[in-house]
């Protein structure tokens, strides 16, 4: 959009100079670029990768309205007090109908305003359907390279299985509130298993004890527990500023444990593996669809299949056999080269 933001398909060197000199506007612009121009992501990643300083990324997730933003603000405030430099990425949903988004998380983070050691960025979820926007991990890396050592990533209000937060957080805090379900809900697979720590907010409301009991119960009966320590389960009331010092201290203990046990490194490795695999998949699809006219064939096949009412699998097998052929060709050509 803005000619000063980029020149063709590469970035202006001045933007990098400003970024590394600590310009907050340059940092904000880089995040906009990874949001709006996926084709610039590799270049930006290349430049930033060596400047990252292993910031700890804390994912804050949970159902809509439980107080994720308020809890995030409360934890961020405590991190600032300890002398950390803090980045907050707050994701809210994009409309699948208009593409617009109402980003309201800053309203709950008023108490953080004015501190020069915090940078808050709201992101619309856009094409992301797992609680984050596709650009969230890149935005976190930009914060990391900018010098933030604690990065809070607040997801969209999620249900049971939106787990994108695992792809970019070292530690996941699941925020719940009383009255959101019984023990049967707690037994279900998904987000409950992803949490490194449970925080029951609004503990001034009735039902807190029974939710605490349900959560403790599922971990008591879990066989996985033999290998993974039970996540801490805490109650807090952000409204009355209760239980948050304890939550923050517990989180620090978890971070310490993550680093000591080597799980921090392992999580980083898994994330990197994931990114590489996803990029390869993307490249494969791009190559496949340019080498063949797959997109058109798929469209035509879908038309035919709808009319005939046949199973799509014969077509899938036929078109997939060409992937094998391409791979074989590639292999022979590599062997020949050797």
């Amino acid at each position: 959009m803005n000619s000063d933001r980029r020149t063709g398909h590469s970035l202006k060197p001045e933007l990098w100079d400003q970024f590394f000199k600590g310009s907050r506007l340059a940092c904000a612009r880089l995040i906009t670029l990874v949001e709006n121009f996926p084709e610039l992501v590799p270049e930006i990643r290349d430049k930033l990768f060596s400047h990252r300083r292993s910031a700890i990324r804390i994912g804050v997730t949970g159902p809509p309205g439980v107080g994720k933003s308020t809890v995030t603000a409360a934890l961020a405030r405590r991190a600032l007090k300890k002398g950390h430099s803090v980045g907050v990425i707050a994701v809210d949903p994009s409309s699948p109908f208009t593409g617009g988004a109402f980003l309201g998380d800053r309203v709950r983070m008023q108490s953080l305003i004015g501190d020069p050691h915090i940078f808050i960025r709201s992101l619309a979820s856009r094409d992301g359907h797992g609680g984050l926007s596709p650009s969230t991990p890149y935005a976190a890396d930009i914060f990391d390279a900018f010098g933030m050592d604690r990065i809070y990533i607040e997801t969209v209000g999620v249900g049971q299985a939106e787990l994108d937060v695992l792809t970019c957080a070292d530690l996941v805090i699941l925020v719940l509130q009383p009255g959101t379900g019984d023990v049967i809900q707690a037994l279900k697979a998904g987000i409950i298993e992803a949490a490194d720590m449970f925080l029951i907010n609004k503990s001034d409301l009735p039902g807190t004890e029974s939710l605490l009991d349900s959560l403790r119960f599922i971990f008591e009966i879990s066989a996985r527990q033999k290998t993974i320590p039970r996540p801490p389960i805490l109650a807090a009331s952000a409204l009355h500023n209760k239980g948050l010092d304890e939550a923050s201290a517990e989180m620090e203990r978890l971070i310490h444990g993550l680093i000591q046990s080597g799980r921090f490194q392992k999580k980083k490795r898994l994330r990197l593996e994931g990114e590489i695999k996803a990029s390869i998949l993307q490249n494969l699809w791009e190559q496949f669809s340019t080498l063949t006219n797959a997109p058109e064939e798929i469209q035509a096949a879908a038309d035919d299949l709808l009319k005939s009412g046949q199973s799509p699998y014969p077509f899938i097998r036929k078109i997939s056999s060409r992937i094998k052929m391409e791979t074989v060709n590639e292999k022979t050509c590599c062997e020949n080269r050797r």
Binding site: M1, N2, D4, R24, L25, A28, R29, I31, T32, N36, S94, S95, T98, G99, G100, A101, F102, L103, G104, R106, V107, Q110, I113, G114, F119, I120, R121, S122, A124, R126, D127
Partner: protein, 135 residues
């Protein structure tokens, strides 16, 4: 994404507590496909411009019904220029007399909206500005 979505800050500076208009406009812009960062009540010019900077916002919209529009618009404009956001659009709405609208124009705030204005006019104004900026 072929079209870069616009990012708009909607805020109410000062002590005026009437936020219905700000919410109506914010929602209309969302329905027009824009990404709206809603700051809500009791903002300072500093907090608004800080948010615009962190969000790399294209547009700042102020809603002022308290009569303090000259003070707030002037201060926000100053801070925008100071923070490298001089190329973004500053607009807004509220109870703003015609003679003050003229003064706002002199400050570089070309257009503000008031009671009776069509919500679509706001959407169109922002879109037209955005198109002229892209070219």
């Amino acid at each position: 994404m072929s079209v870069e979505p616009m990012k708009v800050i909607i805020a109410k500076p000062g002590l005026d507590g009437h936020d219905r208009g700000a919410k109506v406009v914010a929602r209309a812009l969302v329905e027009a496909g824009m990404e709206v960062v809603y700051l809500g009540l009791r903002q300072t010019p500093e907090s608004i411009v800080n948010a615009a900077l962190e969000e790399d916002a294209d547009v700042i919209g102020l809603s002022i019904l308290s009569g303090a529009h000259m003070t707030h618009f002037r201060r926000v404009k100053e801070l925008m220029d100071k923070n490298g956001l001089g190329d973004r659009l500053l607009t807004g709405g509220g109870i703003i007399p015609t003679k003050d609208q003229e003064k706002l124009k002199e400050l570089g705030i070309e257009k503000v909206f008031g009671p009776g204005d069509d919500i679509q006019a706001i959407v169109d104004y922002i879109r037209t500005w955005h198109r002229s900026r892209s070219t």
